[in-house]
Structure formats: C-alpha cells, structure tokens
Amino acid sequence: MKKDVLAFAFLALLVAVLISGTKIQSVDEYYLTHLDDITPNSQTVTVSIRCDTVLQNWNQLDPALQSEKYVPANGVILPATKVVLRPKDTAFDILDRTVRAKKIQMEYQGADQNQFGSVYVKGIHYLYEFSCGPLSGWMYQVNGIYPNYGSSKYTLHPNDVMEWVYTCDLGRDVGNEWKEAG
C-alpha cells in the first residue's frame, strides 16, 4: 500500500512538471538577453529600480538581507537607464528584459497564477515582499503616478519614465496613499 502511495506521489509530481511545461535553460542562456541598441529613431523609455526606504527601516529587515551585498548603500539597484521600447511592450516586459540584460535577480508569479490576471513581481535583487516588515513590497510608478494594477497590463508609451520602488509601508512612504474604495 505504501509503495502505491509513493508511486502515485511520484507520478503526480511528474505530471505537474510536464503540465507546467518544460523549458529548461542553462544560466548563461537565460542571461544572454541583449538589449537593443539605441538608434536615433528608436523609441525609448527610462527604467530605474530603487529600495532606499529599506535604509530607513533597517531594523525591520530580514537579518539574512542586512548586508551591503543585497541592499546597496545608496539604495539604488538600477540607476535610470534608457531602454528601447518595442511596440506593444508592457511595463513588465521592459522590466524583465532589463533585469535579464543587467543580470539582476527577479522573481515573478505568472499571470495565470493569480486572480487578477496579471504578473505579480515577487522580488527584485533578493528583496521580496514582507522582507522588511509586514507592509513591504514592490510597486511601480510611470511618470510619477502609480497605476495600482499589474505591470503586465500597463502598456508603456515612448519617453515614459518608469520607476520600481520598494515600499516598507504599503506605499505611504513612496508617495502612494491607498484609499479605500467608496
């Protein structure tokens, strides 16, 4: 009976792996993304990633992350970089391509795995949600305004300035008050 349970568990694991698709890439292949060269008539957007709110809440930070290696001294993970905008690129597409080219770790949850139908960015540069207290996580703003919905649903326009900021207070410390509906 025990052998049956084990065999069933292995089979279930195999089926889960196969259903989720098996695209295996080595580390080098994954990071081989090459950012398009900026030509005079290409459309660009500016991307930056920063986590300076963590520096003000250092004692709430997960002890495993309390080092210069994971939280840069100036709080800037990616300074403002111009990236070529391909047609129909969403905010998430630009982020994904940029962090792959710059070899920055990023983990996301696919659009089919949550109820909002859009990609959820779980962590950038090993800073995850709740790493700095229960109200912390990643948010993005475009041209100074927080769209407040998933990044794979926001289509960028040329010359937009997109910033990914880490908040330690549900957005209140980075300029986004979340108002209750109604």
């Binding site: 568990a9 694991l13 695209k23 890439q25 994954y30 495993a64 770790q105 983990e107 962590g123 090993y126």
Partner: protein, 270 residues
Amino acid sequence: MFTMNPVLLGISLLGAVCFLAIISRAREFFSDLAFYLPMFLLITFTNPLFSHNGVTPLFFLNDQPVTFEAVCCGAAIAGMLTAVILWSKCFYKMTSSEQFLYLFGRLAPKLSLVLSMALRFVPLLKAQGKRIHRVQKTLGLYTSESRVDRIRGALRVFSALITWSLENALDTADSMKARGYGLKGRTSFSLFRFHSRDGILLVGIAAALCIVLAGVGRGAADFHYYPEISELRRDTCSVLSGLMFFVLAILPFGIESKENLQWTYLQSKI
C-alpha cells in the same frame, strides 16, 4: 522540529534511524527505509519547483531559476519531516497503552483514555481487516475476473470491518462500565517503580536539555537558506549545544545497545 539548522536536523535524523534500527526487526526496518528515503527525495526536489529565491541558480525552468539554496532548503524540510515521523514511530514502538494511562491517568483521565483507545484502534482495525479478507478469500469472494466485481468485494469487506468496529466499540464501552471505569475512587495496579538510576538519567537529560535550550536562546540554531546559505557557527556556545543535542539524540540507541550487550554477555555465561 523547531529549527532548520542542518547540523541539528542531521543529528536528530541519525538518532532516530539508529534507534529504530535497533528496536525493530531487520526486514521491517529496511521496508520502512525503502518508503522514507524516496519520500525524502521527493520533498527535496519538490521545493525548488515552488521556491525560486537563492543566489546560485543551477538552471532555469520555465523562466524561473532552480537554485541550489532551494534544494538545500527542501532537504532540510524533508529531513525535519522524516525525523519527526521516525521518532514518533520509535515512541509508538516503545510505549504501551498501560504506561500512557499510568503517566497521564491522574492528570487528564478522559484525554488519556481517548488517546490510548484511538492509538490502539489503528493496528486493531488493520489486523481485523486482514482476518476478514483471508476468510472471504477462502469463501471464494475474489474469484471473479471483472474489475467491478473485485471492487464490490473490497467494499463488502470494508463495510463488514466498519460494522465490526462499531460493535466492538460498544462492547468495549460496556465492559469498561462493568469494571467501573470513571467511578470516583477507582485505583489501578501498576508495576512501575522509580529507581535511583531513573533519577540519575532524568537529571542528566534535564541538564543536557537546559544547555541545548540556552544555546538556542543565544542563537546557536539560527540558520537561513535564502538568499544564501548561512555559515555554520563554530563558537563554543554552538558547538556545546550541538554536542549536548547529539548526546540526547543518541541516548536511546546507547541505552538499548548497552542492554543488548549485557544480555548477550550474561547469556553466554550460562
């Protein structure tokens, strides 16, 4: 069970495996191992599918990294689970319901009674199920070739088992009532005496436990796997708590093997 520290988990697992090996028969033990080893591997390699944190990616599966830290964390979780299950098995083999009732009978009589009856039921049902199955086989129940008939036969055995267990429960309740369980002033006879060697062992165990807890309180057992595996601590506090934990884990095996050796020695002198 309360830490993710690989050293402590390894010591606990070692103690559980050694003790289980010495108190169960070889065939039982190896068949148990044949179940728990694949379970260990299964849990170890399922964790990286869900957790992608970690600085050393081995390869990328569907755009998510499978990292070395996730595999190690999976191994720690699997080790923790296996160690807990094996220790529970050892405890179950060692204690009889009589000992359980004796210990907790005064403190929480109803709870200890319910627990000891529940623990007794699983092997009882298994044995009775086997008995019914064997009798039905001799009566010719499983002779049909069709799948549906076989399933119907198994369902019949199952329903007979349930009916029997309900009747058995009623019988047990009646018998207990007839013997006066639950009446005030009912005493029971038990052959357990507290010898001086028990006292010495208890004091020793308590001392070792205090040292381990003090070490854990000072952070000797802290360990994290993400984003990178923390270094093993080598200061005296951690080493001492680790050593004391090793003593605690290997104590059952040590006592049992000492008794076995003494028995063999005394037998050889006959």
